[in-house]
Amino acid sequence: MKVAVVVFPGSNCDHDAYHAVKHVLGQDAAFVWHKETGLGGADVVILPGGFSHGDYLRTGAIARFSPVMAEVIRFSEAGGPVLGICNGFQILLECGLLPGAMLRNRDLKFHCEQVAIRVEQTNTPFTNLCTVGQVLRLPIAHGEGNYFAPPDTLRELEAAGRIVFRYTNAFGEPTDQSNPNGSIDNIAGICSEARNVVGLMPHPERACEIAVGSADGLVLLESVVHSLRAAHV
């Protein structure tokens, strides 16, 4: 498997995603500069966290105009698996690959901490090795992760099983107290209609080794390896 890690000038989790794929998972990974117009034959695309173009306007608002994004959209339309993490999720919202928008965290503060999220759906390329209801401990690090979508969109997402992760307490209960940023319905991650594009605010790539506090994020990367193998059989 070859993973393209897209690098915007203000990406700062690009090295973390690369490290997780290459050195923890043992798969091939390559950085793709945002001004490029190809993905180097990658099987998977990761849009990493960071502050793509400074994000002084809205997070991810400028990144969708980077040349590489046209190629990412084409790749996703062809069914290629795309994972947007944190700022990557924000970019997916801005470029329309996923519905909804991000607001400032409800307490208007940046949050960096471990949270618990519950896996709601396993039929995506990034969760197929999870079980429904499984609770993962992953870090968050964002100031603008308060997911919002209008009621109609929410109903559609719910009906189509496109809400992939919810913030919960350690027992898997989506309480208000376990919602770190005020996201509507405790939504931490969603997928596209075709299910191959997944975006989430928590950082699975920062939770791939016990040494750094949690290895619960590795299953997302293992899942996509598994889904590609299954597709080749």
Partner: protein
């Protein structure tokens, strides 16, 4: 000749002016006067502190780069060096907390990557006034948001630090930022110019009028009009700095640069004359070529601007296109503004017309050096006594413990560090808030441990002893993580050096730092001095802050503070002399800042550090935590927090001095140095105590982890009992109660 008012506005005395005329050989023009003004400011020239700083130990087998460059560096093995420094941004952070703190972070990051090192960790040492006051909370919230806003965006984790509160910082908060980066030894880049005819490049953000005379502002006391100095505070752009960082590191990989210097305090003025002076050559530039954000800027303004996120590069002739291509990739300006010249001069032109032409070294090496008068403050004997009659009612130890755990200086700093991305780059292997900050070095088995410490109260009572204790505590914290302390940096925060009592404090503190650094084998590789921390004649507590860096050969052996399980033996290293002088207990419970700071045996301190490193290597101990503010009882309680929630039951001896002032507070809350609480599997206890005895460190098994309470007996009599959950709740909620607005 300039009139007295002009000289005063430039922070220059008539004596200094006469010296300038002598050095230049003529009267300077206004642009030249401006250059002298900033380069001879306290901030840039260290004119009051230099004679004392010279006494610090700066050499050692691991020192790769000592003071004098943008940052120091020590060898960490595997051909790598840790490049680090601490710097203050105190004055700007009072005037405009968010931008002041943010640009403080930006400045120190530039110092590190200027050396060719990739920055991988930030720590902060912060001081604020009483948290009960709304203005303190506003400043704190602004500073925290500013540090986060910059560090989070640029993607360098803020992994640790320390915060203390005291009335003396009311009008002068301290914001000291420490940054550490990693470089290969052979890739370290110096800030010096060489090669006559080599082009001088300006890269990064455009120059505006912001921050003109920032260095001069940082070299004066505050008064009622200080708020009007806001235009002298710069505005930070972390995205620009991220681009600059990546582009500079990419260029430095090519060896197309002979020297790099960031534009910090005194901007273009400082970077051009310093690179020239260091290289024994000169620099000639034309300010008309400098990218400008505003129109109509004079050469004076362009040279003195402190606009952020700018660097000066000396490029090898013939390699220009290569360098320009990299900056183009990152959408940054890279403009040739001049060249290296043979004469040792700084020559500035404006559209080809010379507007300033000065000997380099007149601005740098020839800056004045003052042996300012010093005098020990009167009334030391009285200060050193703890007046029994002034103590309030003596609280029960249970209540005193809760009071201390809720004091903002001791309470959990989660409210603060939760707003900092402390995990980005996935190297942080000691969770935030659990003692020293530890980051692994990918591609090696190494980890680096860092701690910043300082105690203004100790230094107020005895600056030399306080400074020794600061070095010892920073190194001890590093050793508690299992790392061998190998280098140090210092940030000296003091009041007005023109007052002999302040100058005495500074000299004593520097002497104390020197003594401790020599004994603990942590040479000082660089640092920063911040003077004039006074508002309307009232100065801060003398606050030297020490940053210590240590190395763990095996990152997997890292230790933290928290007891990892029940059923472990608890062992106390060191002796409890029951010293309450300058303690958090005296201040918080009795409102007193009196007494003699704790004694310190530096040889035993060093033995303790080596013992901790040895025991972490063998895996004999499971956790380690030093006794600091709040003494033994607070340290023991902290060992129960953030972990598995286990309780602990211990029995300790009564301190020799206890029974005098406030028994049993001296035993429980006295702050004797060189003490560490460790835990070990019971079958390891004998070996741990034997190792301690062999090292000359007193050690005694005092109890065991387990249960749900913190229980302390003295000589067999139970004196303190508190449930872990109640104690932890008090410790955890204190800051958020104040800062999230539930408290009045």
């Amino acid at each position: 000749m300039f009139d007295a008012a002009t000289l005063q506005r430039h922070g220059l005395t008539t004596g200094e002016y006469d010296r300038i005329v002598e050095l230049v050989g003529r009267e300077p023009n206004l642009t030249e006067l401006g250059l002298f003004s900033v380069m001879w400011s306290e901030h840039c020239s260290y004119k009051s502190s230099r004679v004392h700083l010279r006494t610090l130990p700066t050499e050692g087998t691991r020192v790769v780069q000592g003071p004098g460059e943008n940052a120091g560096a020590v060898d960490i093995g595997d051909g790598l060096a840790a490049v680090f420094k601490i710097e203050s941004h105190n004055h700007p952070s009072f005037i405009e907390p968010y931008q002041g703190a943010a640009t403080g972070v930006g400045g120190i990051i530039r110092d590190i990557f200027t050396m060719g090192a990739r920055p991988i960790a930030l720590l902060d040492s912060l001081r604020f006034g009483p948290i009960e006051e709304p203005r303190t909370r506003r400043i704190l919230q602004g500073v925290v948001a500013g540090i986060g806003g910059y560090g989070n965006s640029i993607g360098i984790p803020t992994v640790g630090g320390e915060v203390m509160f005291d009335e003396s910082y009311r009008g002068n908060p301290l914001v000291n930022v420490f940054c550490l980066g990693i470089a290969r030894h052979d890739a370290i880049v110096k800030g010096s110019a060489s090669g006559i005819g080599n082009p001088v490049y300006y890269v990064g953000a455009k120059t505006g009028r912001d921050g003109i005379h920032g260095a001069t502002m940082a070299s004066a006391e505050f008064d009622q009009a200080s708020a009007e100095k806001r235009p002298a505070v710069q505005v930070g752009d972390p995205f620009m700095e991220k681009l600059l960082l990546e582009a500079c590191l990419e260029v430095m990989k090519t060896d197309a640069c002979v020297g790099v210097q960031d534009m910090g305090a005194a901007g273009l003025a400082c970077s051009t004359c310093e690179t020239g002076a260091r290289g024994g050559v000169g620099v000639e530039i034309d300010v008309a070529l400098v990218p400008q954000r505003e129109s109509g800027m004079t050469p004076y303004e362009i040279m003195l601007s402190e606009s952020q996120e700018r660097m000066l590069l000396i490029v090898k002739r013939g390699r220009e296109a290569e360098v320009e291509r990299v900056f183009e990739k990152w959408d940054l300006h890279a403009v040739r503004i001049g060249e290296v010249i043979a004469e040792n001069r700084l020559r500035i032109k404006d559209h080809g017309v010379v507007v300033a032409d000065l000997p380099n070294t007149a601005l740098t090496d020839e800056a004045p050096v003052y042996h300012r008068p010093m005098q020990m403050p009167a009334g030391r004997e009285l200060l050193h006594q703890i007046p029994a009659e002034q103590l309030g009612p003596l609280p029960h130890p249970n209540d005193a413990l809760l009071t201390l755990l809720g004091s903002p200086t001791i309470a959990s700093k989660a409210w603060i560090y939760r707003q900092f991305d402390h995990m980005v780059r996935t190297n942080t292997i000691a969770p935030a808030g659990l003692g020293a900050a530890v980051v692994r070095v990918k591609g090696t088995s190494l980890a680096l441990s860092m701690s910043v410490d300082g105690n203004g109260r100790y230094c107020y009572l005895d600056p030399r002893q306080g400074a020794r204790l600061a070095v010892a505590e920073a190194a001890r914290n590093v050793a508690c993580s299992g790392a061998l302390p190998i280098g140090a940096t210092n940030c000296l925060n003091f009041g007005n050096p023109e007052r002999p009592e302040i100058m005495w404090q500074l000299a004593e503190a520097v002497a104390g730092i020197g003594e401790a650094c020599r004994a603990l084998d942590v040479p000082i590789t660089g640092g920063n001095v911040s003077l004039y921390n006074e508002t309307e004649g009232s100065g801060i507590l003398p606050t030297p802050v020490i940053g210590v860096v240590g190395v763990l050969d095996d990152a997997s052996k890292v230790l933290t503070r928290a007891f990892p399980s029940t059923g472990l033996d608890v062992i106390l290293f060191g002796e409890n002399a029951g010293e309450l002088g300058g303690s958090e207990y005296l201040k918080t419970v009795h409102g007193l800042l009196r007494g003699v700071p704790p004694a310190l045996d530096l040889a035993r301190e060093r033995a303790l550090h080596l013992l901790l490193v040895q025991l972490s290597k063998t895996g004999a101990i499971r956790s380690a935590h030093d006794c600091a503010e709040g003494g033994f009882a607070v340290a023991l309680a902290e060992c129960c927090f953030d972990g598995q929630g286990t309780g602990v039951d211990v029995n300790i001896e009564r301190a020799a001095s206890d029974g005098g002032v406030d028994p049993p507070a001296a035993t429980l809350f006295g702050e004797s140095a060189t003490r560490v609480i460790v835990s070990a599997l019971p079958e390891q206890t004998q070996a741990v105590i034997a190792a301690a005895q062999a090292a000359g460190v007193p050690a005694r098994c005092i109890g065991r982890t387990g249960g749900f309470a913190i229980r302390v007996s003295i000589a067999g009599e139970l004196v303190l009992e508190s449930s872990v959950s109640q104690a932890e709740a008090r410790w955890r909620s204190s800051l958020s109660n104040w800062l999230d607005g539930q408290a009045a």
